[in-house]
Amino acid sequence: MSEPTNIREGKMVDLSLKKPAASAAHPDAVESGGPPGPGGRRGRSAPELAALLIVLVALIIFFWIKSPFFMTKDNILNVLTAIAVTGIIAVPGTMLLIAGQVDLSVGSGAAFCGVMMATTAQSQAIIVGVLVAVGMGILIGLVNGILVTVFRVNALIATLGMLAVLRGLTEVRANGGTVTLANFSGLGTARPFLSIPVPVLLLIGIVIIAVLVMRYTVFGRSLYATGSNPVAARLVGVRGSKMIVLAFVASGLGVALSGLILDSQLSAASPNAATGLELTVVTAIVLGGASLAGGRGTIQGTVVGLLIIGVLNNGLTLLNVNSFYQQVASGALLIIAVSFDQLRLRLAKA
């Protein structure tokens, strides 16, 4: 398999002849030398995570003061439930971004898997519907991954195309209407442990597994390596392409699971479900410190990013802020997050 390119680079680095101009102008990290970032055992991630946590705590304190309902157990569970679907997609999405890739097809993928499940379950057993949805998630991931690694289509474009394809297929399959679904509310609404809803428990489990995977497996390390420098990674024997396909499949699985949760929460599958979810997912990941240039980022950071988004949306709702303004806020948050990413890259070089 040939090596995929990072989103940002567009072209493979070819024998230093086509270095982007920026690399020529940057003040040469070698010359300025200097010690690594303060303290952080894992490079620079620790202080950044601390800064994010401060933002999160500040938001919590603000809404706590402003609204008496904010710090109640029910509302906290509301926030967590609201971010669960996003989070189950954002965690594998972080793995992808670390490898220098991105999946924009997640929102329409979740709707597609949800509708596939619900329509199948009309004539078959529930479990068959679930398996169909999971199979579709894996298939979507495989197709995305192969497009990016074998056909070397830029991930933004490949998954943007997939976004449209899947949304269309979903409408076709659902005949443009909502498909109702009975006897499937457990996944989305049951509260088996400390009255915490299942989706939140699932998210917690997935986060723990992903943190360990990124830190302690060859798979995780290979994603970091290939995102950091795809050519260099290949030259030390890292199977970058295979790992990227696997990460896309992980993203597809997250998408399928999210689609099932949405079905279960609504007891119906809507072809318009999860529209624009990719925006929230990418916002959370980038806010959490993963770099669009690849090679940097942590699952922990994404979790904090998710919490910031969740708290902000919930708090604004409690304060009766018009939901249109909430949309403005989340768009602005994405732009701010990317600006910070760029600033961080520049500071890292100075």
């Binding site: 990290a29 260099a232 030259l235």
Partner: protein, 508 residues
């Protein structure tokens, strides 16, 4: 070639006084003084990390100094003193910098590149005729003939550099800073570059020439400033310095001159690498080459002569179109991963682009090829991963103050290269194919790397070095094979390996 009398440029003098600059709490320039004068070539010397680039970036307006002043004496005797320049102010004073890495627009034509950023335009409408005219004028004043309509990306690297210099000149440069301009040039191109530099100097342009290569100082410099650890350790007219004095000023200790290593004690072992009548399209042709265990064979040739392609074939990055290649009696690997499993290690010429994982830690960079061995069922033990670093840190004198968790990007070039070399030592590679292993590596680290390679050869590793640096060949090779245009022109053994013999054989 036009030989008209050079047209003088306005007088330029810049006196930098007491320049200090810190990054992230570390001071990299400690009160540096330097004079840059029109009509003279100032060679700026120093190891990586000595502060050369930071200093010239202060002069070129890319960095603001924390302390110190830049003084511009005026013809009427007054002195204009500023505490720093921004890029625009530096441009207005005629200061131009040519970066080590090309900063041209590869997809645009030669003519467009020469006018890049200062297009001949009226009311915002660019005149293409004016652009071609200007390009023609400046190129012919340099005595160069290039196709103005060719995309710059299709030119050879030396020609692209010429285009960058032409851009600076057509933009009325009175002070031109060249950052290691010869790193990627062939001997011929270096000579031509020296020609430009001399001609510019005669026109009154002030030149600052950053280099690692001491022979270039003797060839081109009028004045020398040596930086060490962010302070000036020597300065004065170039002719007052011996080569050895410059080396001492750079590294702070004596380093032997270019000397042949003592002949290897033992007989070389069995053949590890054998090319037979091997051909690779647009690379090399009819190559016969063997490397034995315990032997260092240097493949010398100008950039583009095919040496790097031979190393690439050994590492499975390039396939043969004819002939055979055997590595330990096995056919060549189809990809780098298979080559690694065959026991081949490799360093690419472009360290940043193809070797380093800059955003990852030193320990991770070092351990990456050994992950299969350091992991069980795909799980990596973090403590185990740090151990390889501890193992090679002292053996190679890798200077990483932050330890195994320090980011690779924060190491100096020489130390980065040591880490990348250590990868293959840790992997236990039996054959190393190294392309330009000390490019951009300072003198001290270079000596460490040579010593490590010697020692490795002593323990039976077969080493193939593809290089365009003849001093490297003289210092390192048991045998040298010279390539020109993809074909072997000469094989040299032992004492036959001299700089004269090498450059002579590579010339054709």
């Amino acid at each position: 070639m036009p030989s008209s009398t050079p047209e003088p440029v306005p007088a330029f003098t810049l006196r930098a006084r007491g320049i200090r600059k810190s990054f992230g709490g570390t001071e990299v320039l400690h009160s540096v003084d330097v004079d840059i004068v029109g009509g003279r070539v100032l060679a700026l010397l120093g190891e990586n990390g000595a502060g050369k680039s930071t200093l010239v970036r202060v002069v070129a307006g890319a960095h603001a100094p924390d302390r110190g002043t830049l003084e511009f004496p005026k013809p009427d005797g007054d002195v204009e003193t500023v505490t720093g320049l921004d890029p625009l102010a530096a441009r207005k004073r005629g200061i131009r910098m040519i970066f080590q890495e090309l900063s041209d627009a590869a997809d645009l034509t030669v003519a467009e590149n020469i006018s890049l950023g200062h297009w001949p335009a009226r009311a915002g409408i660019v005149s293409w005729r004016g652009m071609r005219h200007r390009a023609q004028q400046v190129l012919s004043s340099m005595g160069v003939d290039l196709d103005l309509g060719a995309a710059v990306g299709e030119l050879r690297i030396g020609e692209r550099q010429v285009v960058e210099i032409a851009r600076a000149l057509s933009d009325e440069a009175t002070c031109l800073i060249l950052d290691e301009p010869t790193a990627a040039l062939s001997a011929e191109e270096v000579e031509r570059l020296f020609g430009f530099v001399r001609r510019l100097r005669d026109r009154g342009v002030a030149l600052v020439y950053i280099t690692h290569r001491l022979d270039e100082v003797a060839a081109i410099a009028d004045d020398v400033v040596v930086l060490r650890d962010g302070a000036v350790s020597a300065s004065g007219p170039a002719r007052e310095f011996q080569r050895s004095q410059l080396v001492t000023a750079m590294v702070g200790r004596e380093i032997g001159a270019v000397a042949r290593p003592p002949a290897s004690a033992g007989e070389p072992g069995p053949v590890v690498l054998a090319f037979r009548r091997a051909t690779s399209l647009r690379g090399f042709a009819d190559l016969d080459l063997t490397v034995r265990a315990g032997e260092i064979v240097c493949l010398y040739g100008k950039v583009g002569s095919g040496t790097a392609e031979v190393a690439d074939a050994v590492f499975g990055r390039r396939q043969l179109s004819g002939g055979t290649l055997k590595i330990q009696d096995l056919p060549p690997a189809r990809n780098p991963r298979a080559a690694i499993d065959h026991g081949v290690g490799y360093l690419a010429a472009d360290r940043q682009g193809e070797g380093a994982l800059m955003t990852r830690t030193v320990a991770e960079n070092l351990a990456a090829p050994s992950w299969p061995r350091l992991s069980r069922f795909g799980l990596i033990n973090a403590d185990q991963e740090r151990r390889p670093f501890d193992r090679w840190r002292s053996a190679l004198d890798i200077r990483a103050a932050g330890g195994p968790e320090q980011l690779l990007a924060s190491l100096s070039g020489g130390n980065q290269q040591k880490v990348l070399l250590a990868r293959w030592l840790e992997r236990g590679s039996k054959l190393l194919a190294l392309v330009e292993p000390t490019r951009g590596v300072d003198v001290g680290a270079r000596a460490d790397i040579y010593a490590a390679l010697r020692e490795l050869a002593g323990t039976g590793t077969a080493i193939l070095v593809a290089t365009s640096d003849y001093e490297e060949v003289v210092q390192l090779a048991d045998r040298a094979v010279v390539l020109a245009r993809g074909r072997v022109t000469r094989e040299l053994q032992g004492d036959e390996i001299t700089t004269e013999a090498l450059t002579d054989a590579a010339g054709g």
